[in-house]
Symmetry: C2
Subunit: 361 residues, 2 copies
């Protein structure tokens, strides 16, 4: 999969000179355009309007965003560094509320700043080395990126074993290379299965309102040579009933301790339809997606997005002004509808609450 | 409901001078534009590209279309009249394949031509009166229109009794005034309930790919003062799970003898979701929608429409060219998922095969 969704552009030893480079996913599939984020506002806006999206990619973006926000720092003490890091992290935390990976990555950067501060303040002869602090923070962000790459490939290998040698997979939204650094969670399973010699074809729900399935998943799957068919979300029930689908595979933005799964709006309905037709429903997500502080999915905050995403697609009015619009960006699939969750550590089977506790608790 | 979807414009006694006037539904909700169909090609194209759509409205359009096609007739015998009528009817029968009401209305006009021909040819002194033939055919088409109006109101009354005094109804596609002459099937139930003093609010699935729910149902419901919320199709599962919906009400394009229901793509999935959440699923359709020659829904022909309806909404490419598109316009909901079918004759309850046989057989 020759797609690099997000990367740090520049020398790892010179954080002040580097920046974040990412694919502007709002322009796909029409054109492949990159944007160079040289300040936090540009990256924050890119996250907000979904130029970069997908839970793992948001983790990478958040980690790199912290470095971006510190490029001009004059912090002369550990305390100042921690304060500035916290401020930048708090800023990025306001961009999107549901994907826990973003908060996980921001927390990780905050912890790194504290670690450095403690180390520096504990020294006698050494003054506070701001440049070294920046280098360590960038190294941490690059480590988040590297781990994401490795994690995706591990999930792919575990997930690929769940698929028969010839399989048709239905997916929703984009949990692919474009949702991670470069390989994908749900679609990583397809890529890994193909690499393992399996014959895989894909159906993509277009995924209204923002059409990530049609625009992004179908784009990257066809780029990777996987035969792909796009359908409207409301056609999924029909292809399931026709017996065309061997597995439904989706990603996740947050998973509660009991195995309830938050993911793109439409996922819950799809899980009901998969169950009705006896088709396995797999969720593929890295360990960083689990939020064990929540015992159930009821407590996952669900982002509501602007009505015009529904009522004004491509600037054309489709619903009358007099009508209300309800536009939740995510929904929660109860653990009971999930056949298995694939993480980088392996395959979690029901009862999910116990499997999660055992593997991650 | 101050909406006249389709009408015959002109003096009923001068068929050669009249024409078909209809709302161009492809322009809604942005603007209310009428088109005047003075030849069969204009009306055929209007049916094909869904300027006029909805099973009952297609019946009216087909009946009037036959008169339109005979405006220039020089038929001098009953035989010639029958031949020309059959030709015009055959032409309109090629416009859309799924809605049986269209074929039902065309057959009715063909039968009327035969009836007139038999009567005329049976007379001794009377020559063949072409003008009288045209007047009788137009009268028949206007009768189809009048019956549609009465039928919708009768369905509305029967259906309204199924709703509690305060109810929120979820509907899919448009089975409203715009799908009939002027009152609607599924939405007619809402209008009748409101007229009966009930407090009704509505959710409309936007209904991809052509967005009839957002564009048409939400438009006519808000015009009628019904509080309306538009959602994407993939959000229906969430509002059902939230307990917001008291009933799902849809129309139909064809109903088989066993109670299987063909309707807009997405209806089947919605029926599964309604069942999962214990919400009643009502189908509202006139008797002319039943096709008792088919024992099950498997035999209903399903129209597949052009891929660009999915991949190029509003002329903007949303899916890559390399991807296939599957675009069935309808699906079939098995009788087992249907709580009741409302016709102008009353409410049909399961077992539907028996109720249908009893009421219509």
């Amino acid at each position: 999969v020759p797609i690099t969704t997000i990367e740090w552009s520049g020398d790892a030893s010179k954080p002040r000179e580097g920046h974040v480079r990412l694919i502007d996913q709002t322009r796909l599939p029409v054109e492949l355009v990159h944007i160079e984020c040289r300040d936090t506002e540009t990256l924050w806006e890119a996250i907000k309007v979904l130029r970069v999206r997908g839970a793992p990619a948001l983790g990478v973006a958040g980690a790199m965003g912290v470095v971006l926000g510190l490029r001009g720092t004059k912090a002369a003490t550990g305390e100042e560094l921690v304060k500035e890091t916290d401020e930048v992290a708090a800023y990025f935390a306001t961009s999107r509320p549901t994907a826990v990976n973003l908060f996980w990555a921001l927390d990780r950067m905050k912890a790194k700043a504290r670690e450095f501060a403690a180390k520096a303040d504990g020294g006698f002869d050494t003054g506070f080395d701001t440049e070294e602090a920046l280098r360590e923070l960038l190294a941490e962000a690059l480590e988040v990126l590297k781990e994401d790459r490795e994690t995706c490939r591990a999930m792919g290998r575990h997930g690929a074993e769940l698929l028969p040698d010839e399989a048709t997979v239905l997916t929703h939204c984009n949990a692919g290379a474009l949702a991670t650094a470069d390989y994908g969670t749900a679609l990583g399973v397809i890529y890994a299965a193909v690499e393992a010699g399996k014959k895989i074809t894909a159906y993509c729900d277009e995924t209204r309102p923002l059409l990530q399935g049609a625009r992004l998943s179908a784009w990257e799957l066809t780029q990777a040579g996987v035969p792909t068919t796009v359908i409207c979300d409301n056609m999924a029930a029909v292809v399931l009933r026709q017996g065309k689908i061997d597995a439904v595979i989706v990603g996740s933005d947050r998973i509660a301790a009991n195995g309830d799964v938050a993911n793109k709006i439409g996922t819950y309905g799809l899980s009901v339809l998969a169950k009705e037709h006896g088709v396995p429903f797999y969720v593929v997500a890295p360990v960083s997606t689990f939020d064990l502080t929540l015992d159930s999915g009821d407590k996952i905050p669900i982002e509501e997005r602007p009505p015009d995403e529904v009522a004004m697609p491509f600037g054309v009015r489709t619903a009358p002004k007099e009508a209300e619009v309800y536009n939740p960006a995510f929904d929660v699939t109860p653990a009971a509808n999930v056949t298995a969750i694939v993480t980088e550590k392996g395959v979690l089977r029901p009862p999910l609450a116990e499997s999660i506790k055992e593997q991650l608790g």
